[in-house]
């Protein structure tokens, strides 16, 4: 679904991603792991087009080179993004936040798919509240819901469990699996929490200082790797 080759990225002078390769197969959940500040979020931003890429290619659905696509287009191609830090629109109501996703759908749908509310009932409850007033966890749910509104083919989740109560975290995991199973969704997940990753991801990739150090089926995630790349 998504193939990244030799990706290099700079923040000004500082080289953040180095010749990075990553393969996200269709219909699976790939989990990107790594310590703080290794460049996970940066990688996601590169895929979404929020950060400029120096060199390399990002191919989506086998043919398209995403780098050439304008930022807005990527959502329209079917990439949903749940960024780190939630990034909801603070002064829009919950419903309006969700409605922003409708723009990217090709089908001219005008109302929020009922499914979103079923997944996150709290969003229905708080439909008319400003997004910024929600509690942190509620915002996180909103962010996920919003990404699902566009009915993406690829869903990018940057630490989705952060700040969410345990039962809902589990629920999110279930949702991911369900979407993968039912809709053939592809998921690219950034997660630090091992149990969650182990439980819901199919594959993993480990980053360190902007380089991909390991990749494989989730079962292959060994303690050795963890010790080497995920502990301080």
């Amino acid at each position: 679904m998504l193939q990244i080759e030799k990706l290099n990225q700079y923040y000004g002078e500082s080289h953040t991603l180095w010749d990075l390769d990553l393969d996200v197969p269709q219909g699976q959940c790939t989990c990107v792991m790594g310590r703080n500040g290794v460049g996970k979020t940066t990688l996601m931003k590169c895929i979404m087009g929020e950060e400029k890429v120096e060199s390399g290619s990002i191919r989506f659905a086998d043919e398209l080179d995403l780098i050439k696509q304008p930022l807005e287009q990527r959502a329209r191609l079917g990439i949903g993004y749940v960024p780190q830090g939630r990034q909801i629109f603070p002064l829009l109501t919950v419903e309006e936040n969700l409605r922003t996703g409708l723009a990217a759908r090709g089908d001219g749908q005008k109302i929020i798919p009922e499914r979103i509310y079923e997944l996150f009932p709290v969003l229905r409850e708080m439909k008319n509240r400003r997004g910024g007033d929600l509690s942190g966890g509620q915002q996180q749910q909103l962010a996920i819901g919003r990404a699902l509104v566009i009915e993406p083919r690829l869903l990018i989740l940057d630490e989705p469990g952060e700040g969410i109560q345990p039962n809902i975290v589990a629920q999110i995991g279930e949702v991911i699996r369900k979407l993968i199973a039912e809709d053939g969704l592809t998921v690219l997940l950034v997660e630090q929490k091992l149990p969650f990753a182990r439980k819901y991801a199919d594959r993993f990739a480990i980053l360190d200082r902007g380089r991909r150090m390991a990749e494989g089926e989730i079962g292959e995630l060994s303690d050795e790797l963890i010790k080497q790349y995920l502990t301080v």
Partner: protein, 378 residues
Amino acid sequence: MWLTRPLQERSTQLFLGILFMALLVVSVLHVALPEGHALHVSAYTVTLLGKYLCYALLAVAVDLVWGYLGILSLGHGAFFALGGYAMGMYLMRQIGDRGTYGDPVLPDFMVFLNWQELPWYWYGFDMAWFAFAMVLLVPGALALVFGWLAFRSRVTGVYLSIITQALTFALMLAFFRNEMGFGGNNGLTDFRDILGFNLRTDEVRLGLFIATGIALALGYLVCRAIVTSKLGRVSVACRDAEARTRFLGYRVERVQLFVFVVSAMLAGVAGALYVPQVGIINPSEFSPLFSIEIVVWVALGGRATLYGAVIGAILVNYAKTVFTGVMPDAWLFALGALFVLVTVFLPQGIAGLLKKRRKPIDVGSGPSQPATAAEATP
């Protein structure tokens, strides 16, 4: 001593060095060379430079509150003008009985409009020390009261900008009123002496120019001392995340008030030095558009750098002088284009050109980054 601390900085040394060199060169070229010599600096130029330096000081004052405290004051012209009026009143009283009507106490415009006696607020302005104190105190007091009201109620952002604008606008209308006793639209003019020296001599002009240079140096030093102190960092913190700063235990409103008052006083000094050099003070200095223009100088020079403000003020005003002479019909095009081009192509102003491109991200534009204070909560 905290005031002298910036003297150890290279940038401050450089700035002061250049400033004093410039003062020296101009003075020497003015005094030593005969008129007509190619390098002679005429009295006209000296006064012109003096005016630029006043504006530079004003710009530094604005940069202090805007660049470091994040208060976009659209009313600094008011403090400038008040300082100017304080000075103007002193100069007016210095005229004594040499006015057209020969009244020993009342300035001409009062005789003219049948005032019987000097209004109480004119008392004391015949004494230099009093007037000079007022130059600092009047703008300072206004800033204190106004700032106290505004900061205490946590008025921020554009709301603060607009009420500063309302302030200067209201003052402008008030000073336009002839009943106010400040000469209405005509303002105060026809000055003669300052501290007993004849204002209309080249020596005094040079003296004023040098005094302005020194004031600028001192003002710069004070601002520099503030911004390099811990208080300066607190100011930046207030600018970027006011609420967060409070949670660290800083009384944001007092920090703001202090810096604002200092800035207002500097603006007052600038105004006071401006008036004897240009020879008139009138309510148009209160005009909101003038205050906006000051901000434009600062932005053009480079915000949050202080020296950028100086460069911006001098450059814009120099450009104005040149353009109004060279292309009187089209100078506004040139000036407007200058503003547009600098903003688009030099995001950090002219100072941005000078700064080494060391820091990878833009640190001087705190509040403009979306993800700062606005989401201090969940």
